[in-house]
Amino acid sequence: MKTLVTVKRVPDPESTIRVKPDGSGIVTENVKYVINPFDEIAIEEALRIKEKQGGGEVVLVSIGAKVVSEQLRTGLAMGADRAIFVACEQELDSLAVARLLAKIVERENPELLVMGKQAIDDDANQAGQMLAALLGWPQATFASKLEFSADQKSVQVTREVDGGLETIGFALPGVITADLRLNEPRYASLPGIMKARKKEIKEISVSELGVDITSRLKIQKLTPPAKKQGGKKVETVQALVDLLHTEAKVI
């Protein structure tokens, strides 16, 4: 099976994000960048599908400035076969991203698309669903388990939804977005890192794809959130319960 996996470069989830004083963006100095954690899960799943089926190809795709090749290289070191890099310096909303990805899908013709359920920078949780709509493909978001039919023509996906686990099925091709429990991503091995240096990262320009990438969603301004002040420390359980009862009046 040929699987396409999307990779986004995002600030390390452990890093502290601050807004620039003029509200035009975030402070990027000293911020470390990583593969979006959910995309890492998506790469891992694609690799496991390939290993289990004993064949196929895992192709990574990322959109952004030249530096995203760092994250693509990491994904290749995990075991992906090759990568596509769409060079684009401007900020894109999820619809523009989905439009570019739809063109890549047209060119590559994968049977399966695996994406992270959400990027932890803009927290939009939109691109996978939008891409599925543009392609007219079925979608299974928030996936925690995949089961392919014996002929690998269809899949049943267990999804983590409110109040339980839902299972849906569809014939491929389709879009799957990975939730936390789908798997635990592997680390790149040293031989993997060596091999990755020789793997192809193909660069494509936006103009080559001929897509309108005007963002419908425009960020007007960024501000820091209202700060909540920490309160007091209490010494004993007794004192805590008394305060919750008499002062805060919540129990």
């Binding site: 849906i168 309160g231 919750l244």
Partner: protein, 322 residues
């Protein structure tokens, strides 16, 4: 300004609080931007259920009834909503960021070729929206271009709507073709619990990695949860460690809660967890590490070994509750 359409999510014909919250956001949008507020009830055999929404001061309750809509499936539901939007001059579509809202709305937006803002916490009079980014470390003011705007709203940012004038129920005609019915519902495995749901509970008690095991959630945390009549939550670290199911996760990539009282037990307070609970009215932290970041946002902090403190806490709560 055209009409505001609220996707009225229901579970087997019952409308959860998250739907009443979306209706409130819809009414607020109409108040600020104009138009009429419509609700869309989508399903099979839901005309009777839709009656439950007639008393909230809406202009119309639209019912999209079709056997193909019996179970929620993104492709066919998106097709239905896109048709309703075109037929009813809708310029703003709203749903709450539930699992269904998150799954469905981007698909509708892309079908219509328009943009979307997720997890909106403020609808502004100038037509912009306020939403968090970067795990709530940044608040963004955003605008959406295009004839239709699509927003999902954060359930904790709006109140449940109040009763109002009667609205008529109107059936809508749909034409759903095979291309929109590629997905198939297989099963739903409900996690049964007598406790209130995480996003609707007045009190939430969450455990973190400090609990050390799933058994300790049962032995130590659950008695406190039940003594308080609370919902149980967990940090991502506890979910990652396999102590509890992901359904309980509170945080940036889990559920966002804002109860009257939030207990963080054995949770250090990673950015991604704070994103899901920092709007709680009263926050209590129990942690043995006095430097844990959770204390910086807790109203009441107790530096203690949770394995000693939590059973004591449970006993004290029981005494008060009598």
């Amino acid at each position: 300004m055209g009409n505001v359409l609220v996707f009225a999510e229901h579970h087997k014909g019952k409308f959860p609080k998250s739907t009443l919250v979306a209706l409130q956001a819809g009414k607020e949008a109409v108040g600020k931007l104009g138009g009429n507020c419509l609700a869309a009830v989508v399903g099979s055999g839901v005309e009777g259920a839709a009656q439950a929404l007639t008393g909230y001061g809406l202009t119309k309750v639209l019912v999209a009834d079709d056997p193909a809509l019996a179970n929620y499936l993104a492709d066919v539901y998106a097709a239905a909503l896109a048709q309703i939007i075109k037929a009813h001059e809708v310029s703003l579509l709203i749903a709450t960021s539930t699992a269904i809202g998150k799954d469905l709305l981007p698909r509708v937006a892309a079908r219509l070729g328009v943009g979307m803002a997720s997890d909106v916490v403020g609808i502004n009079a100038d037509g912009t929206f306020t939403r968090p980014m970067y795990a709530g470390n940044v608040m963004a003011t955003v605008s959406l271009d295009g004839a239709v705007k699509v927003i999902s709203i954060r359930g904790t940012a709006f109140d449940a709507t109040q009763a109002g004038d009667q609205a008529p129920v109107e059936k809508v005609t749909l034409s759903l073709d095979a291309a929109d019915k590629k997905m198939r519902f297989v099963s739903f495995d409900e996690i049964k619990s007598d406790r209130p749901s995480l996003t609707e509970a007045r009190i939430v008690v969450s455990g973190g990695r400090g609990l050390k095991s799933g058994e300790n959630f049962t032995t130590y945390l659950e008695p406190l949860v039940d003594a308080l009549g609370a919902a149980m939550g967990a940090s991502r670290a506890a979910v990652d460690a396999g102590f509890v199911p992901n359904d309980l996760q509170v945080g940036q990539t889990g559920k966002v809660v804002a109860p009257e009282l939030y207990f963080a037990v054995g949770i250090s307070g990673a950015i991604q967890h704070l994103a899901g609970m920092k709007d709680s009215k009263v926050i209590v932290a129990v942690n043995k590490d006095p430097e844990a970041p959770i204390f910086s946002i807790a109203d009441y902090g107790l530096v203690a070994d949770l394995f000693k403190a939590v059973p004591e806490l449970t006993e004290e709560v029981k005494k008060i509750k009598g």
